[in-house]
Structure formats: structure tokens, C-alpha cells
Symmetry: C2
């Protein structure tokens, strides 16, 4: 699988190249937008990773150039934390996914694999919803009935999992593996505690409870009444 990286910061670029090479990808690295676009048009890649902020022409323009040429490989955008609008714009222009800097390499790898598996079709959704609860994946923000709710990172990860598999009863083992990178320790109740904290933030004070306990099975997020 061939991947094109367009990234001007040498530290990041080299790290990505090295990390992806170790994961058995063939990687080309371009240091600016022009080089990147040129490579993208003359070579055949299965995926492109574009930084938004680039010297010369920026990531959007590279993306536009790629799409105009008719190339359809999936594109993953790298954006700075604050430039939310950039992210929206990138998705509108035809990016398939985005990643906010700073990010964990494992996160990048996971997304790269996902994009390659499904060939770039079916973009990442931007929102997850259930009843009046809304989770904004891009902005990493959560609201219920329009009211902003602040979630810590574990809380967010847990809610994201519950929402992605809304209606399914998720056993603890699954939750542990997804949110905690797996932990077979039975003598801990981190999950209960985390659920408790999450409930306090998204269910307490609301009539309609969204998180339900299924005794002996696990937890579901459901908007049934």
C-alpha cells in the first residue's frame, strides 16, 4: 500500500514516514504543497495524508488539485487544534477524515487502516446523535438539549463508543478493550465509575435517561421511552 505524506515540519514528517514504514506501508514524503501535488498526480497512491498549513499552496489546494485530476484515493487531513473551520472546509472539499494535532500515532494508524479498508468511501460522520444528545466529533464537543457539556477524555471516548453502537448492549469486556486498551483485571470497577461520571454529566437532571444498565450484560445507550 502506497501512502503520500505532505507535511512541511520535518519532525512530524519524518516521524510519520518512519512509523508508517514500520507498519509496512510504502511512503513518500513531500515537504511542500507543490511537490506534494506533483507526486500525487504523477504517482499512484492508495492514500494521502495532507497537512493543512503548508508553504506555497496549502492542503486544500492540494486536495482540490487531486480531486480535479479525477483521483479518488482517500485523503486524511492534519489540522491544528484551533482551526475548526479548516476542518469543516477540508471535509467539504472532499477529505475523508481529519486528525487534530497533536495526535497519538496509534490513532493515525487506526484511521489510515480504516480508510484503506473501505477504500475511502463513506466518510466519517461529523456528528453522532441520540434523542437530544449530540456529539460533535470534529470539535470534540457534546451538547444535550443544546446545552454544552464538558467531558474529560475518557468520558468522551466512552460516550463515543456508546453512541457509535447505539442500541447495542456493550459488554464490559468490549468497553474495557475499546476505551482502556483492554484490561482483563476483574478486581477493578473503573468502568462502573466512568459510567457513573458520564451519567452525572449527560443523564442527571434529565427526565429521559439515555444510558441504561443491562444486568449481567453491560450497558446500552438508547433513546427509548
Amino acid at each position: 500500500m502506497r501512502i503520500l505524506i505532505v507535511e512541511d515540519e520535518p519532525k512530524i514528517g519524518n516521524y510519520l514516514r518512519q512509523g508508517l514504514a514500520e507498519a509496512c506501508f510504502v511512503v513518500d514524503l513531500a515537504r511542500d504543497g507543490l511537490d506534494g501535488l506533483h507526486l500525487a498526480l504523477t504517482e499512484a497512491y492508495d492514500l494521502a495524508i495532507l497537512d493543512v498549513m503548508l508553504p506555497g499552496i496549502d492542503g486544500w489546494q492540494v486536495l482540490q488539485g487531486i480531486r480535479r485530476s479525477g483521483k479518488e484515493m482517500p485523503v486524511l487531513f492534519l489540522t491544528a487544534r484551533d482551526d475548526v473551520d479548516d476542518r469543516v472546509k477540508g471535509l467539504e472539499l472532499g477529505a475523508d477524515d481529519y486528525l487534530v494535532k497533536p495526535f497519538a500515532f496509534s490513532e493515525l494508524l487506526a484511521r489510515v487502516r480504516t480508510l484503506l479498508r473501505r477504500g475511502g468511501m463513506a466518510k466519517e460522520p461529523e456528528f453522532l446523535r441520540a434523542a437530544d444528545l449530540e456529539l460533535d466529533l470534529m470539535r470534540r464537543r457534546v451538547t444535550r438539549s443544546g446545552k454544552k457539556i464538558n467531558l474529560a477524555s475518557k468520558e468522551f471516548a466512552l460516550l463515543e463508543l456508546l453512541l457509535r453502537r447505539r442500541g447495542e448492549v456493550l459488554p464490559r469486556s468490549l468497553i474495557a478493550s475499546q476505551v482502556w486498551d483492554m484490561n482483563f483485571d476483574s478486581d477493578t470497577n473503573v468502568i462502573e465509575v466512568a459510567i457513573r461520571r458520564l451519567r452525572a454529566k449527560i443523564d442527571d437532571g434529565f427526565d429521559q435517561k439515555l444510558i441504561h444498565t443491562v444486568r449481567g450484560m453491560g450497558y446500552v445507550l438508547e433513546a427509548t421511552e
Copy 2:
């Protein structure tokens, strides 16, 4: 690559099978020692993952049976946190690596890959040392001049990295990627803070400092005088 798992707890066994299958390994799962040994002897595996506590014959006996038959594939042991002696025994019997339950799946995967890459030769060391500092990888314990030092997990990971590459100057970017799963955020000083905490525990109060700052480069652990 074919992997044999011998694990009686269904939760763990299934999870391992699934996770390793997703990582493109061919996996067989045995629920007890006898089945496991039988499979190990009749089929050809590139690696075996053995739980110590098993119904019927235990993990050591399976290992002994494997070795007696002349099979040399690498063996990774899974042990409970408390049974330290078990771990030592396992290594003496010819295991190549061990993992303490509970563990992160990513950790397991990393070790599996390492073992497969080097074909099981060259066992994991049990200790890392520098001057009078000793890090016990199995017990996850650290002593200096024989005095026990309690380290938090990040501190331990950092010290382990420094010790594994003792004498090398490690740039921040490397440390960040290894200990923090990479983080390109420049406006944080987590590393300095972590180094500080680590120094407080292993260098403060000792004449011979082990952690040295190399201005503009990074940090080294060295026992030079």
C-alpha cells in the same frame, strides 16, 4: 504466521484470538493444558501464548512438553500480578517473554511482533542496570543502592526507556513518541516535568547523578563519573 493460545478464561481467550486475528495472524485457541500441548505438538506454530494457571496441566508443563519434543518456537507467558515466582520459573523453563495480567492489548501485540521478528532468540532481559540502579522488569520494581523506589507508570516507562538505551542521548521527540505514544505539541513541557519527578526519585540525595541533560539535544542516562 500461526499462533497458539492456551487460555482457559473465555473472556481473555476470545479477546486475544479476535485481536490477533485482526492483526492478520492465524490463531488457534486451546481451553486447557492438555488440548494446548496436543495442538502444539501436532501442528506447526510460530509462537505460543500460554497462561500459567490452567485446568489439568499448567502452563509450565505445557512448556516443558513443548521443549522436550524439540520444538523451539518462542513462548510468551501470561501470569497473574502476584505470582512473581511463577514468572521466574517460566523463564527458567525456557519461556521467551512474559506478560503480567492485566495488560494492554497493544503491549501484547508489540511483544508478539518482537518475538516473531527475532525468532524467539535472545530472551528479554530480566533486569536493567546502571551503577547501583536496578530496574526489575518482571516485578516492575526499581531499587537504588538496594533501596526500593516507588515509581508511577509514566515514570517507570520513562526510566525503562532511558535504561534500555543507556548512554544514548534521547531527543525529546523520541521520548514523547515512546512514553506518550507521540505528541507533536510543542507548547507543553510534560517531558521536563516527568524528568523532574524521576530525578527527584532516583537522583535526589545521591552523589552520583544518573540522568543528565544535554542542552539542545535531550537526556541521557549514564553512570560516568
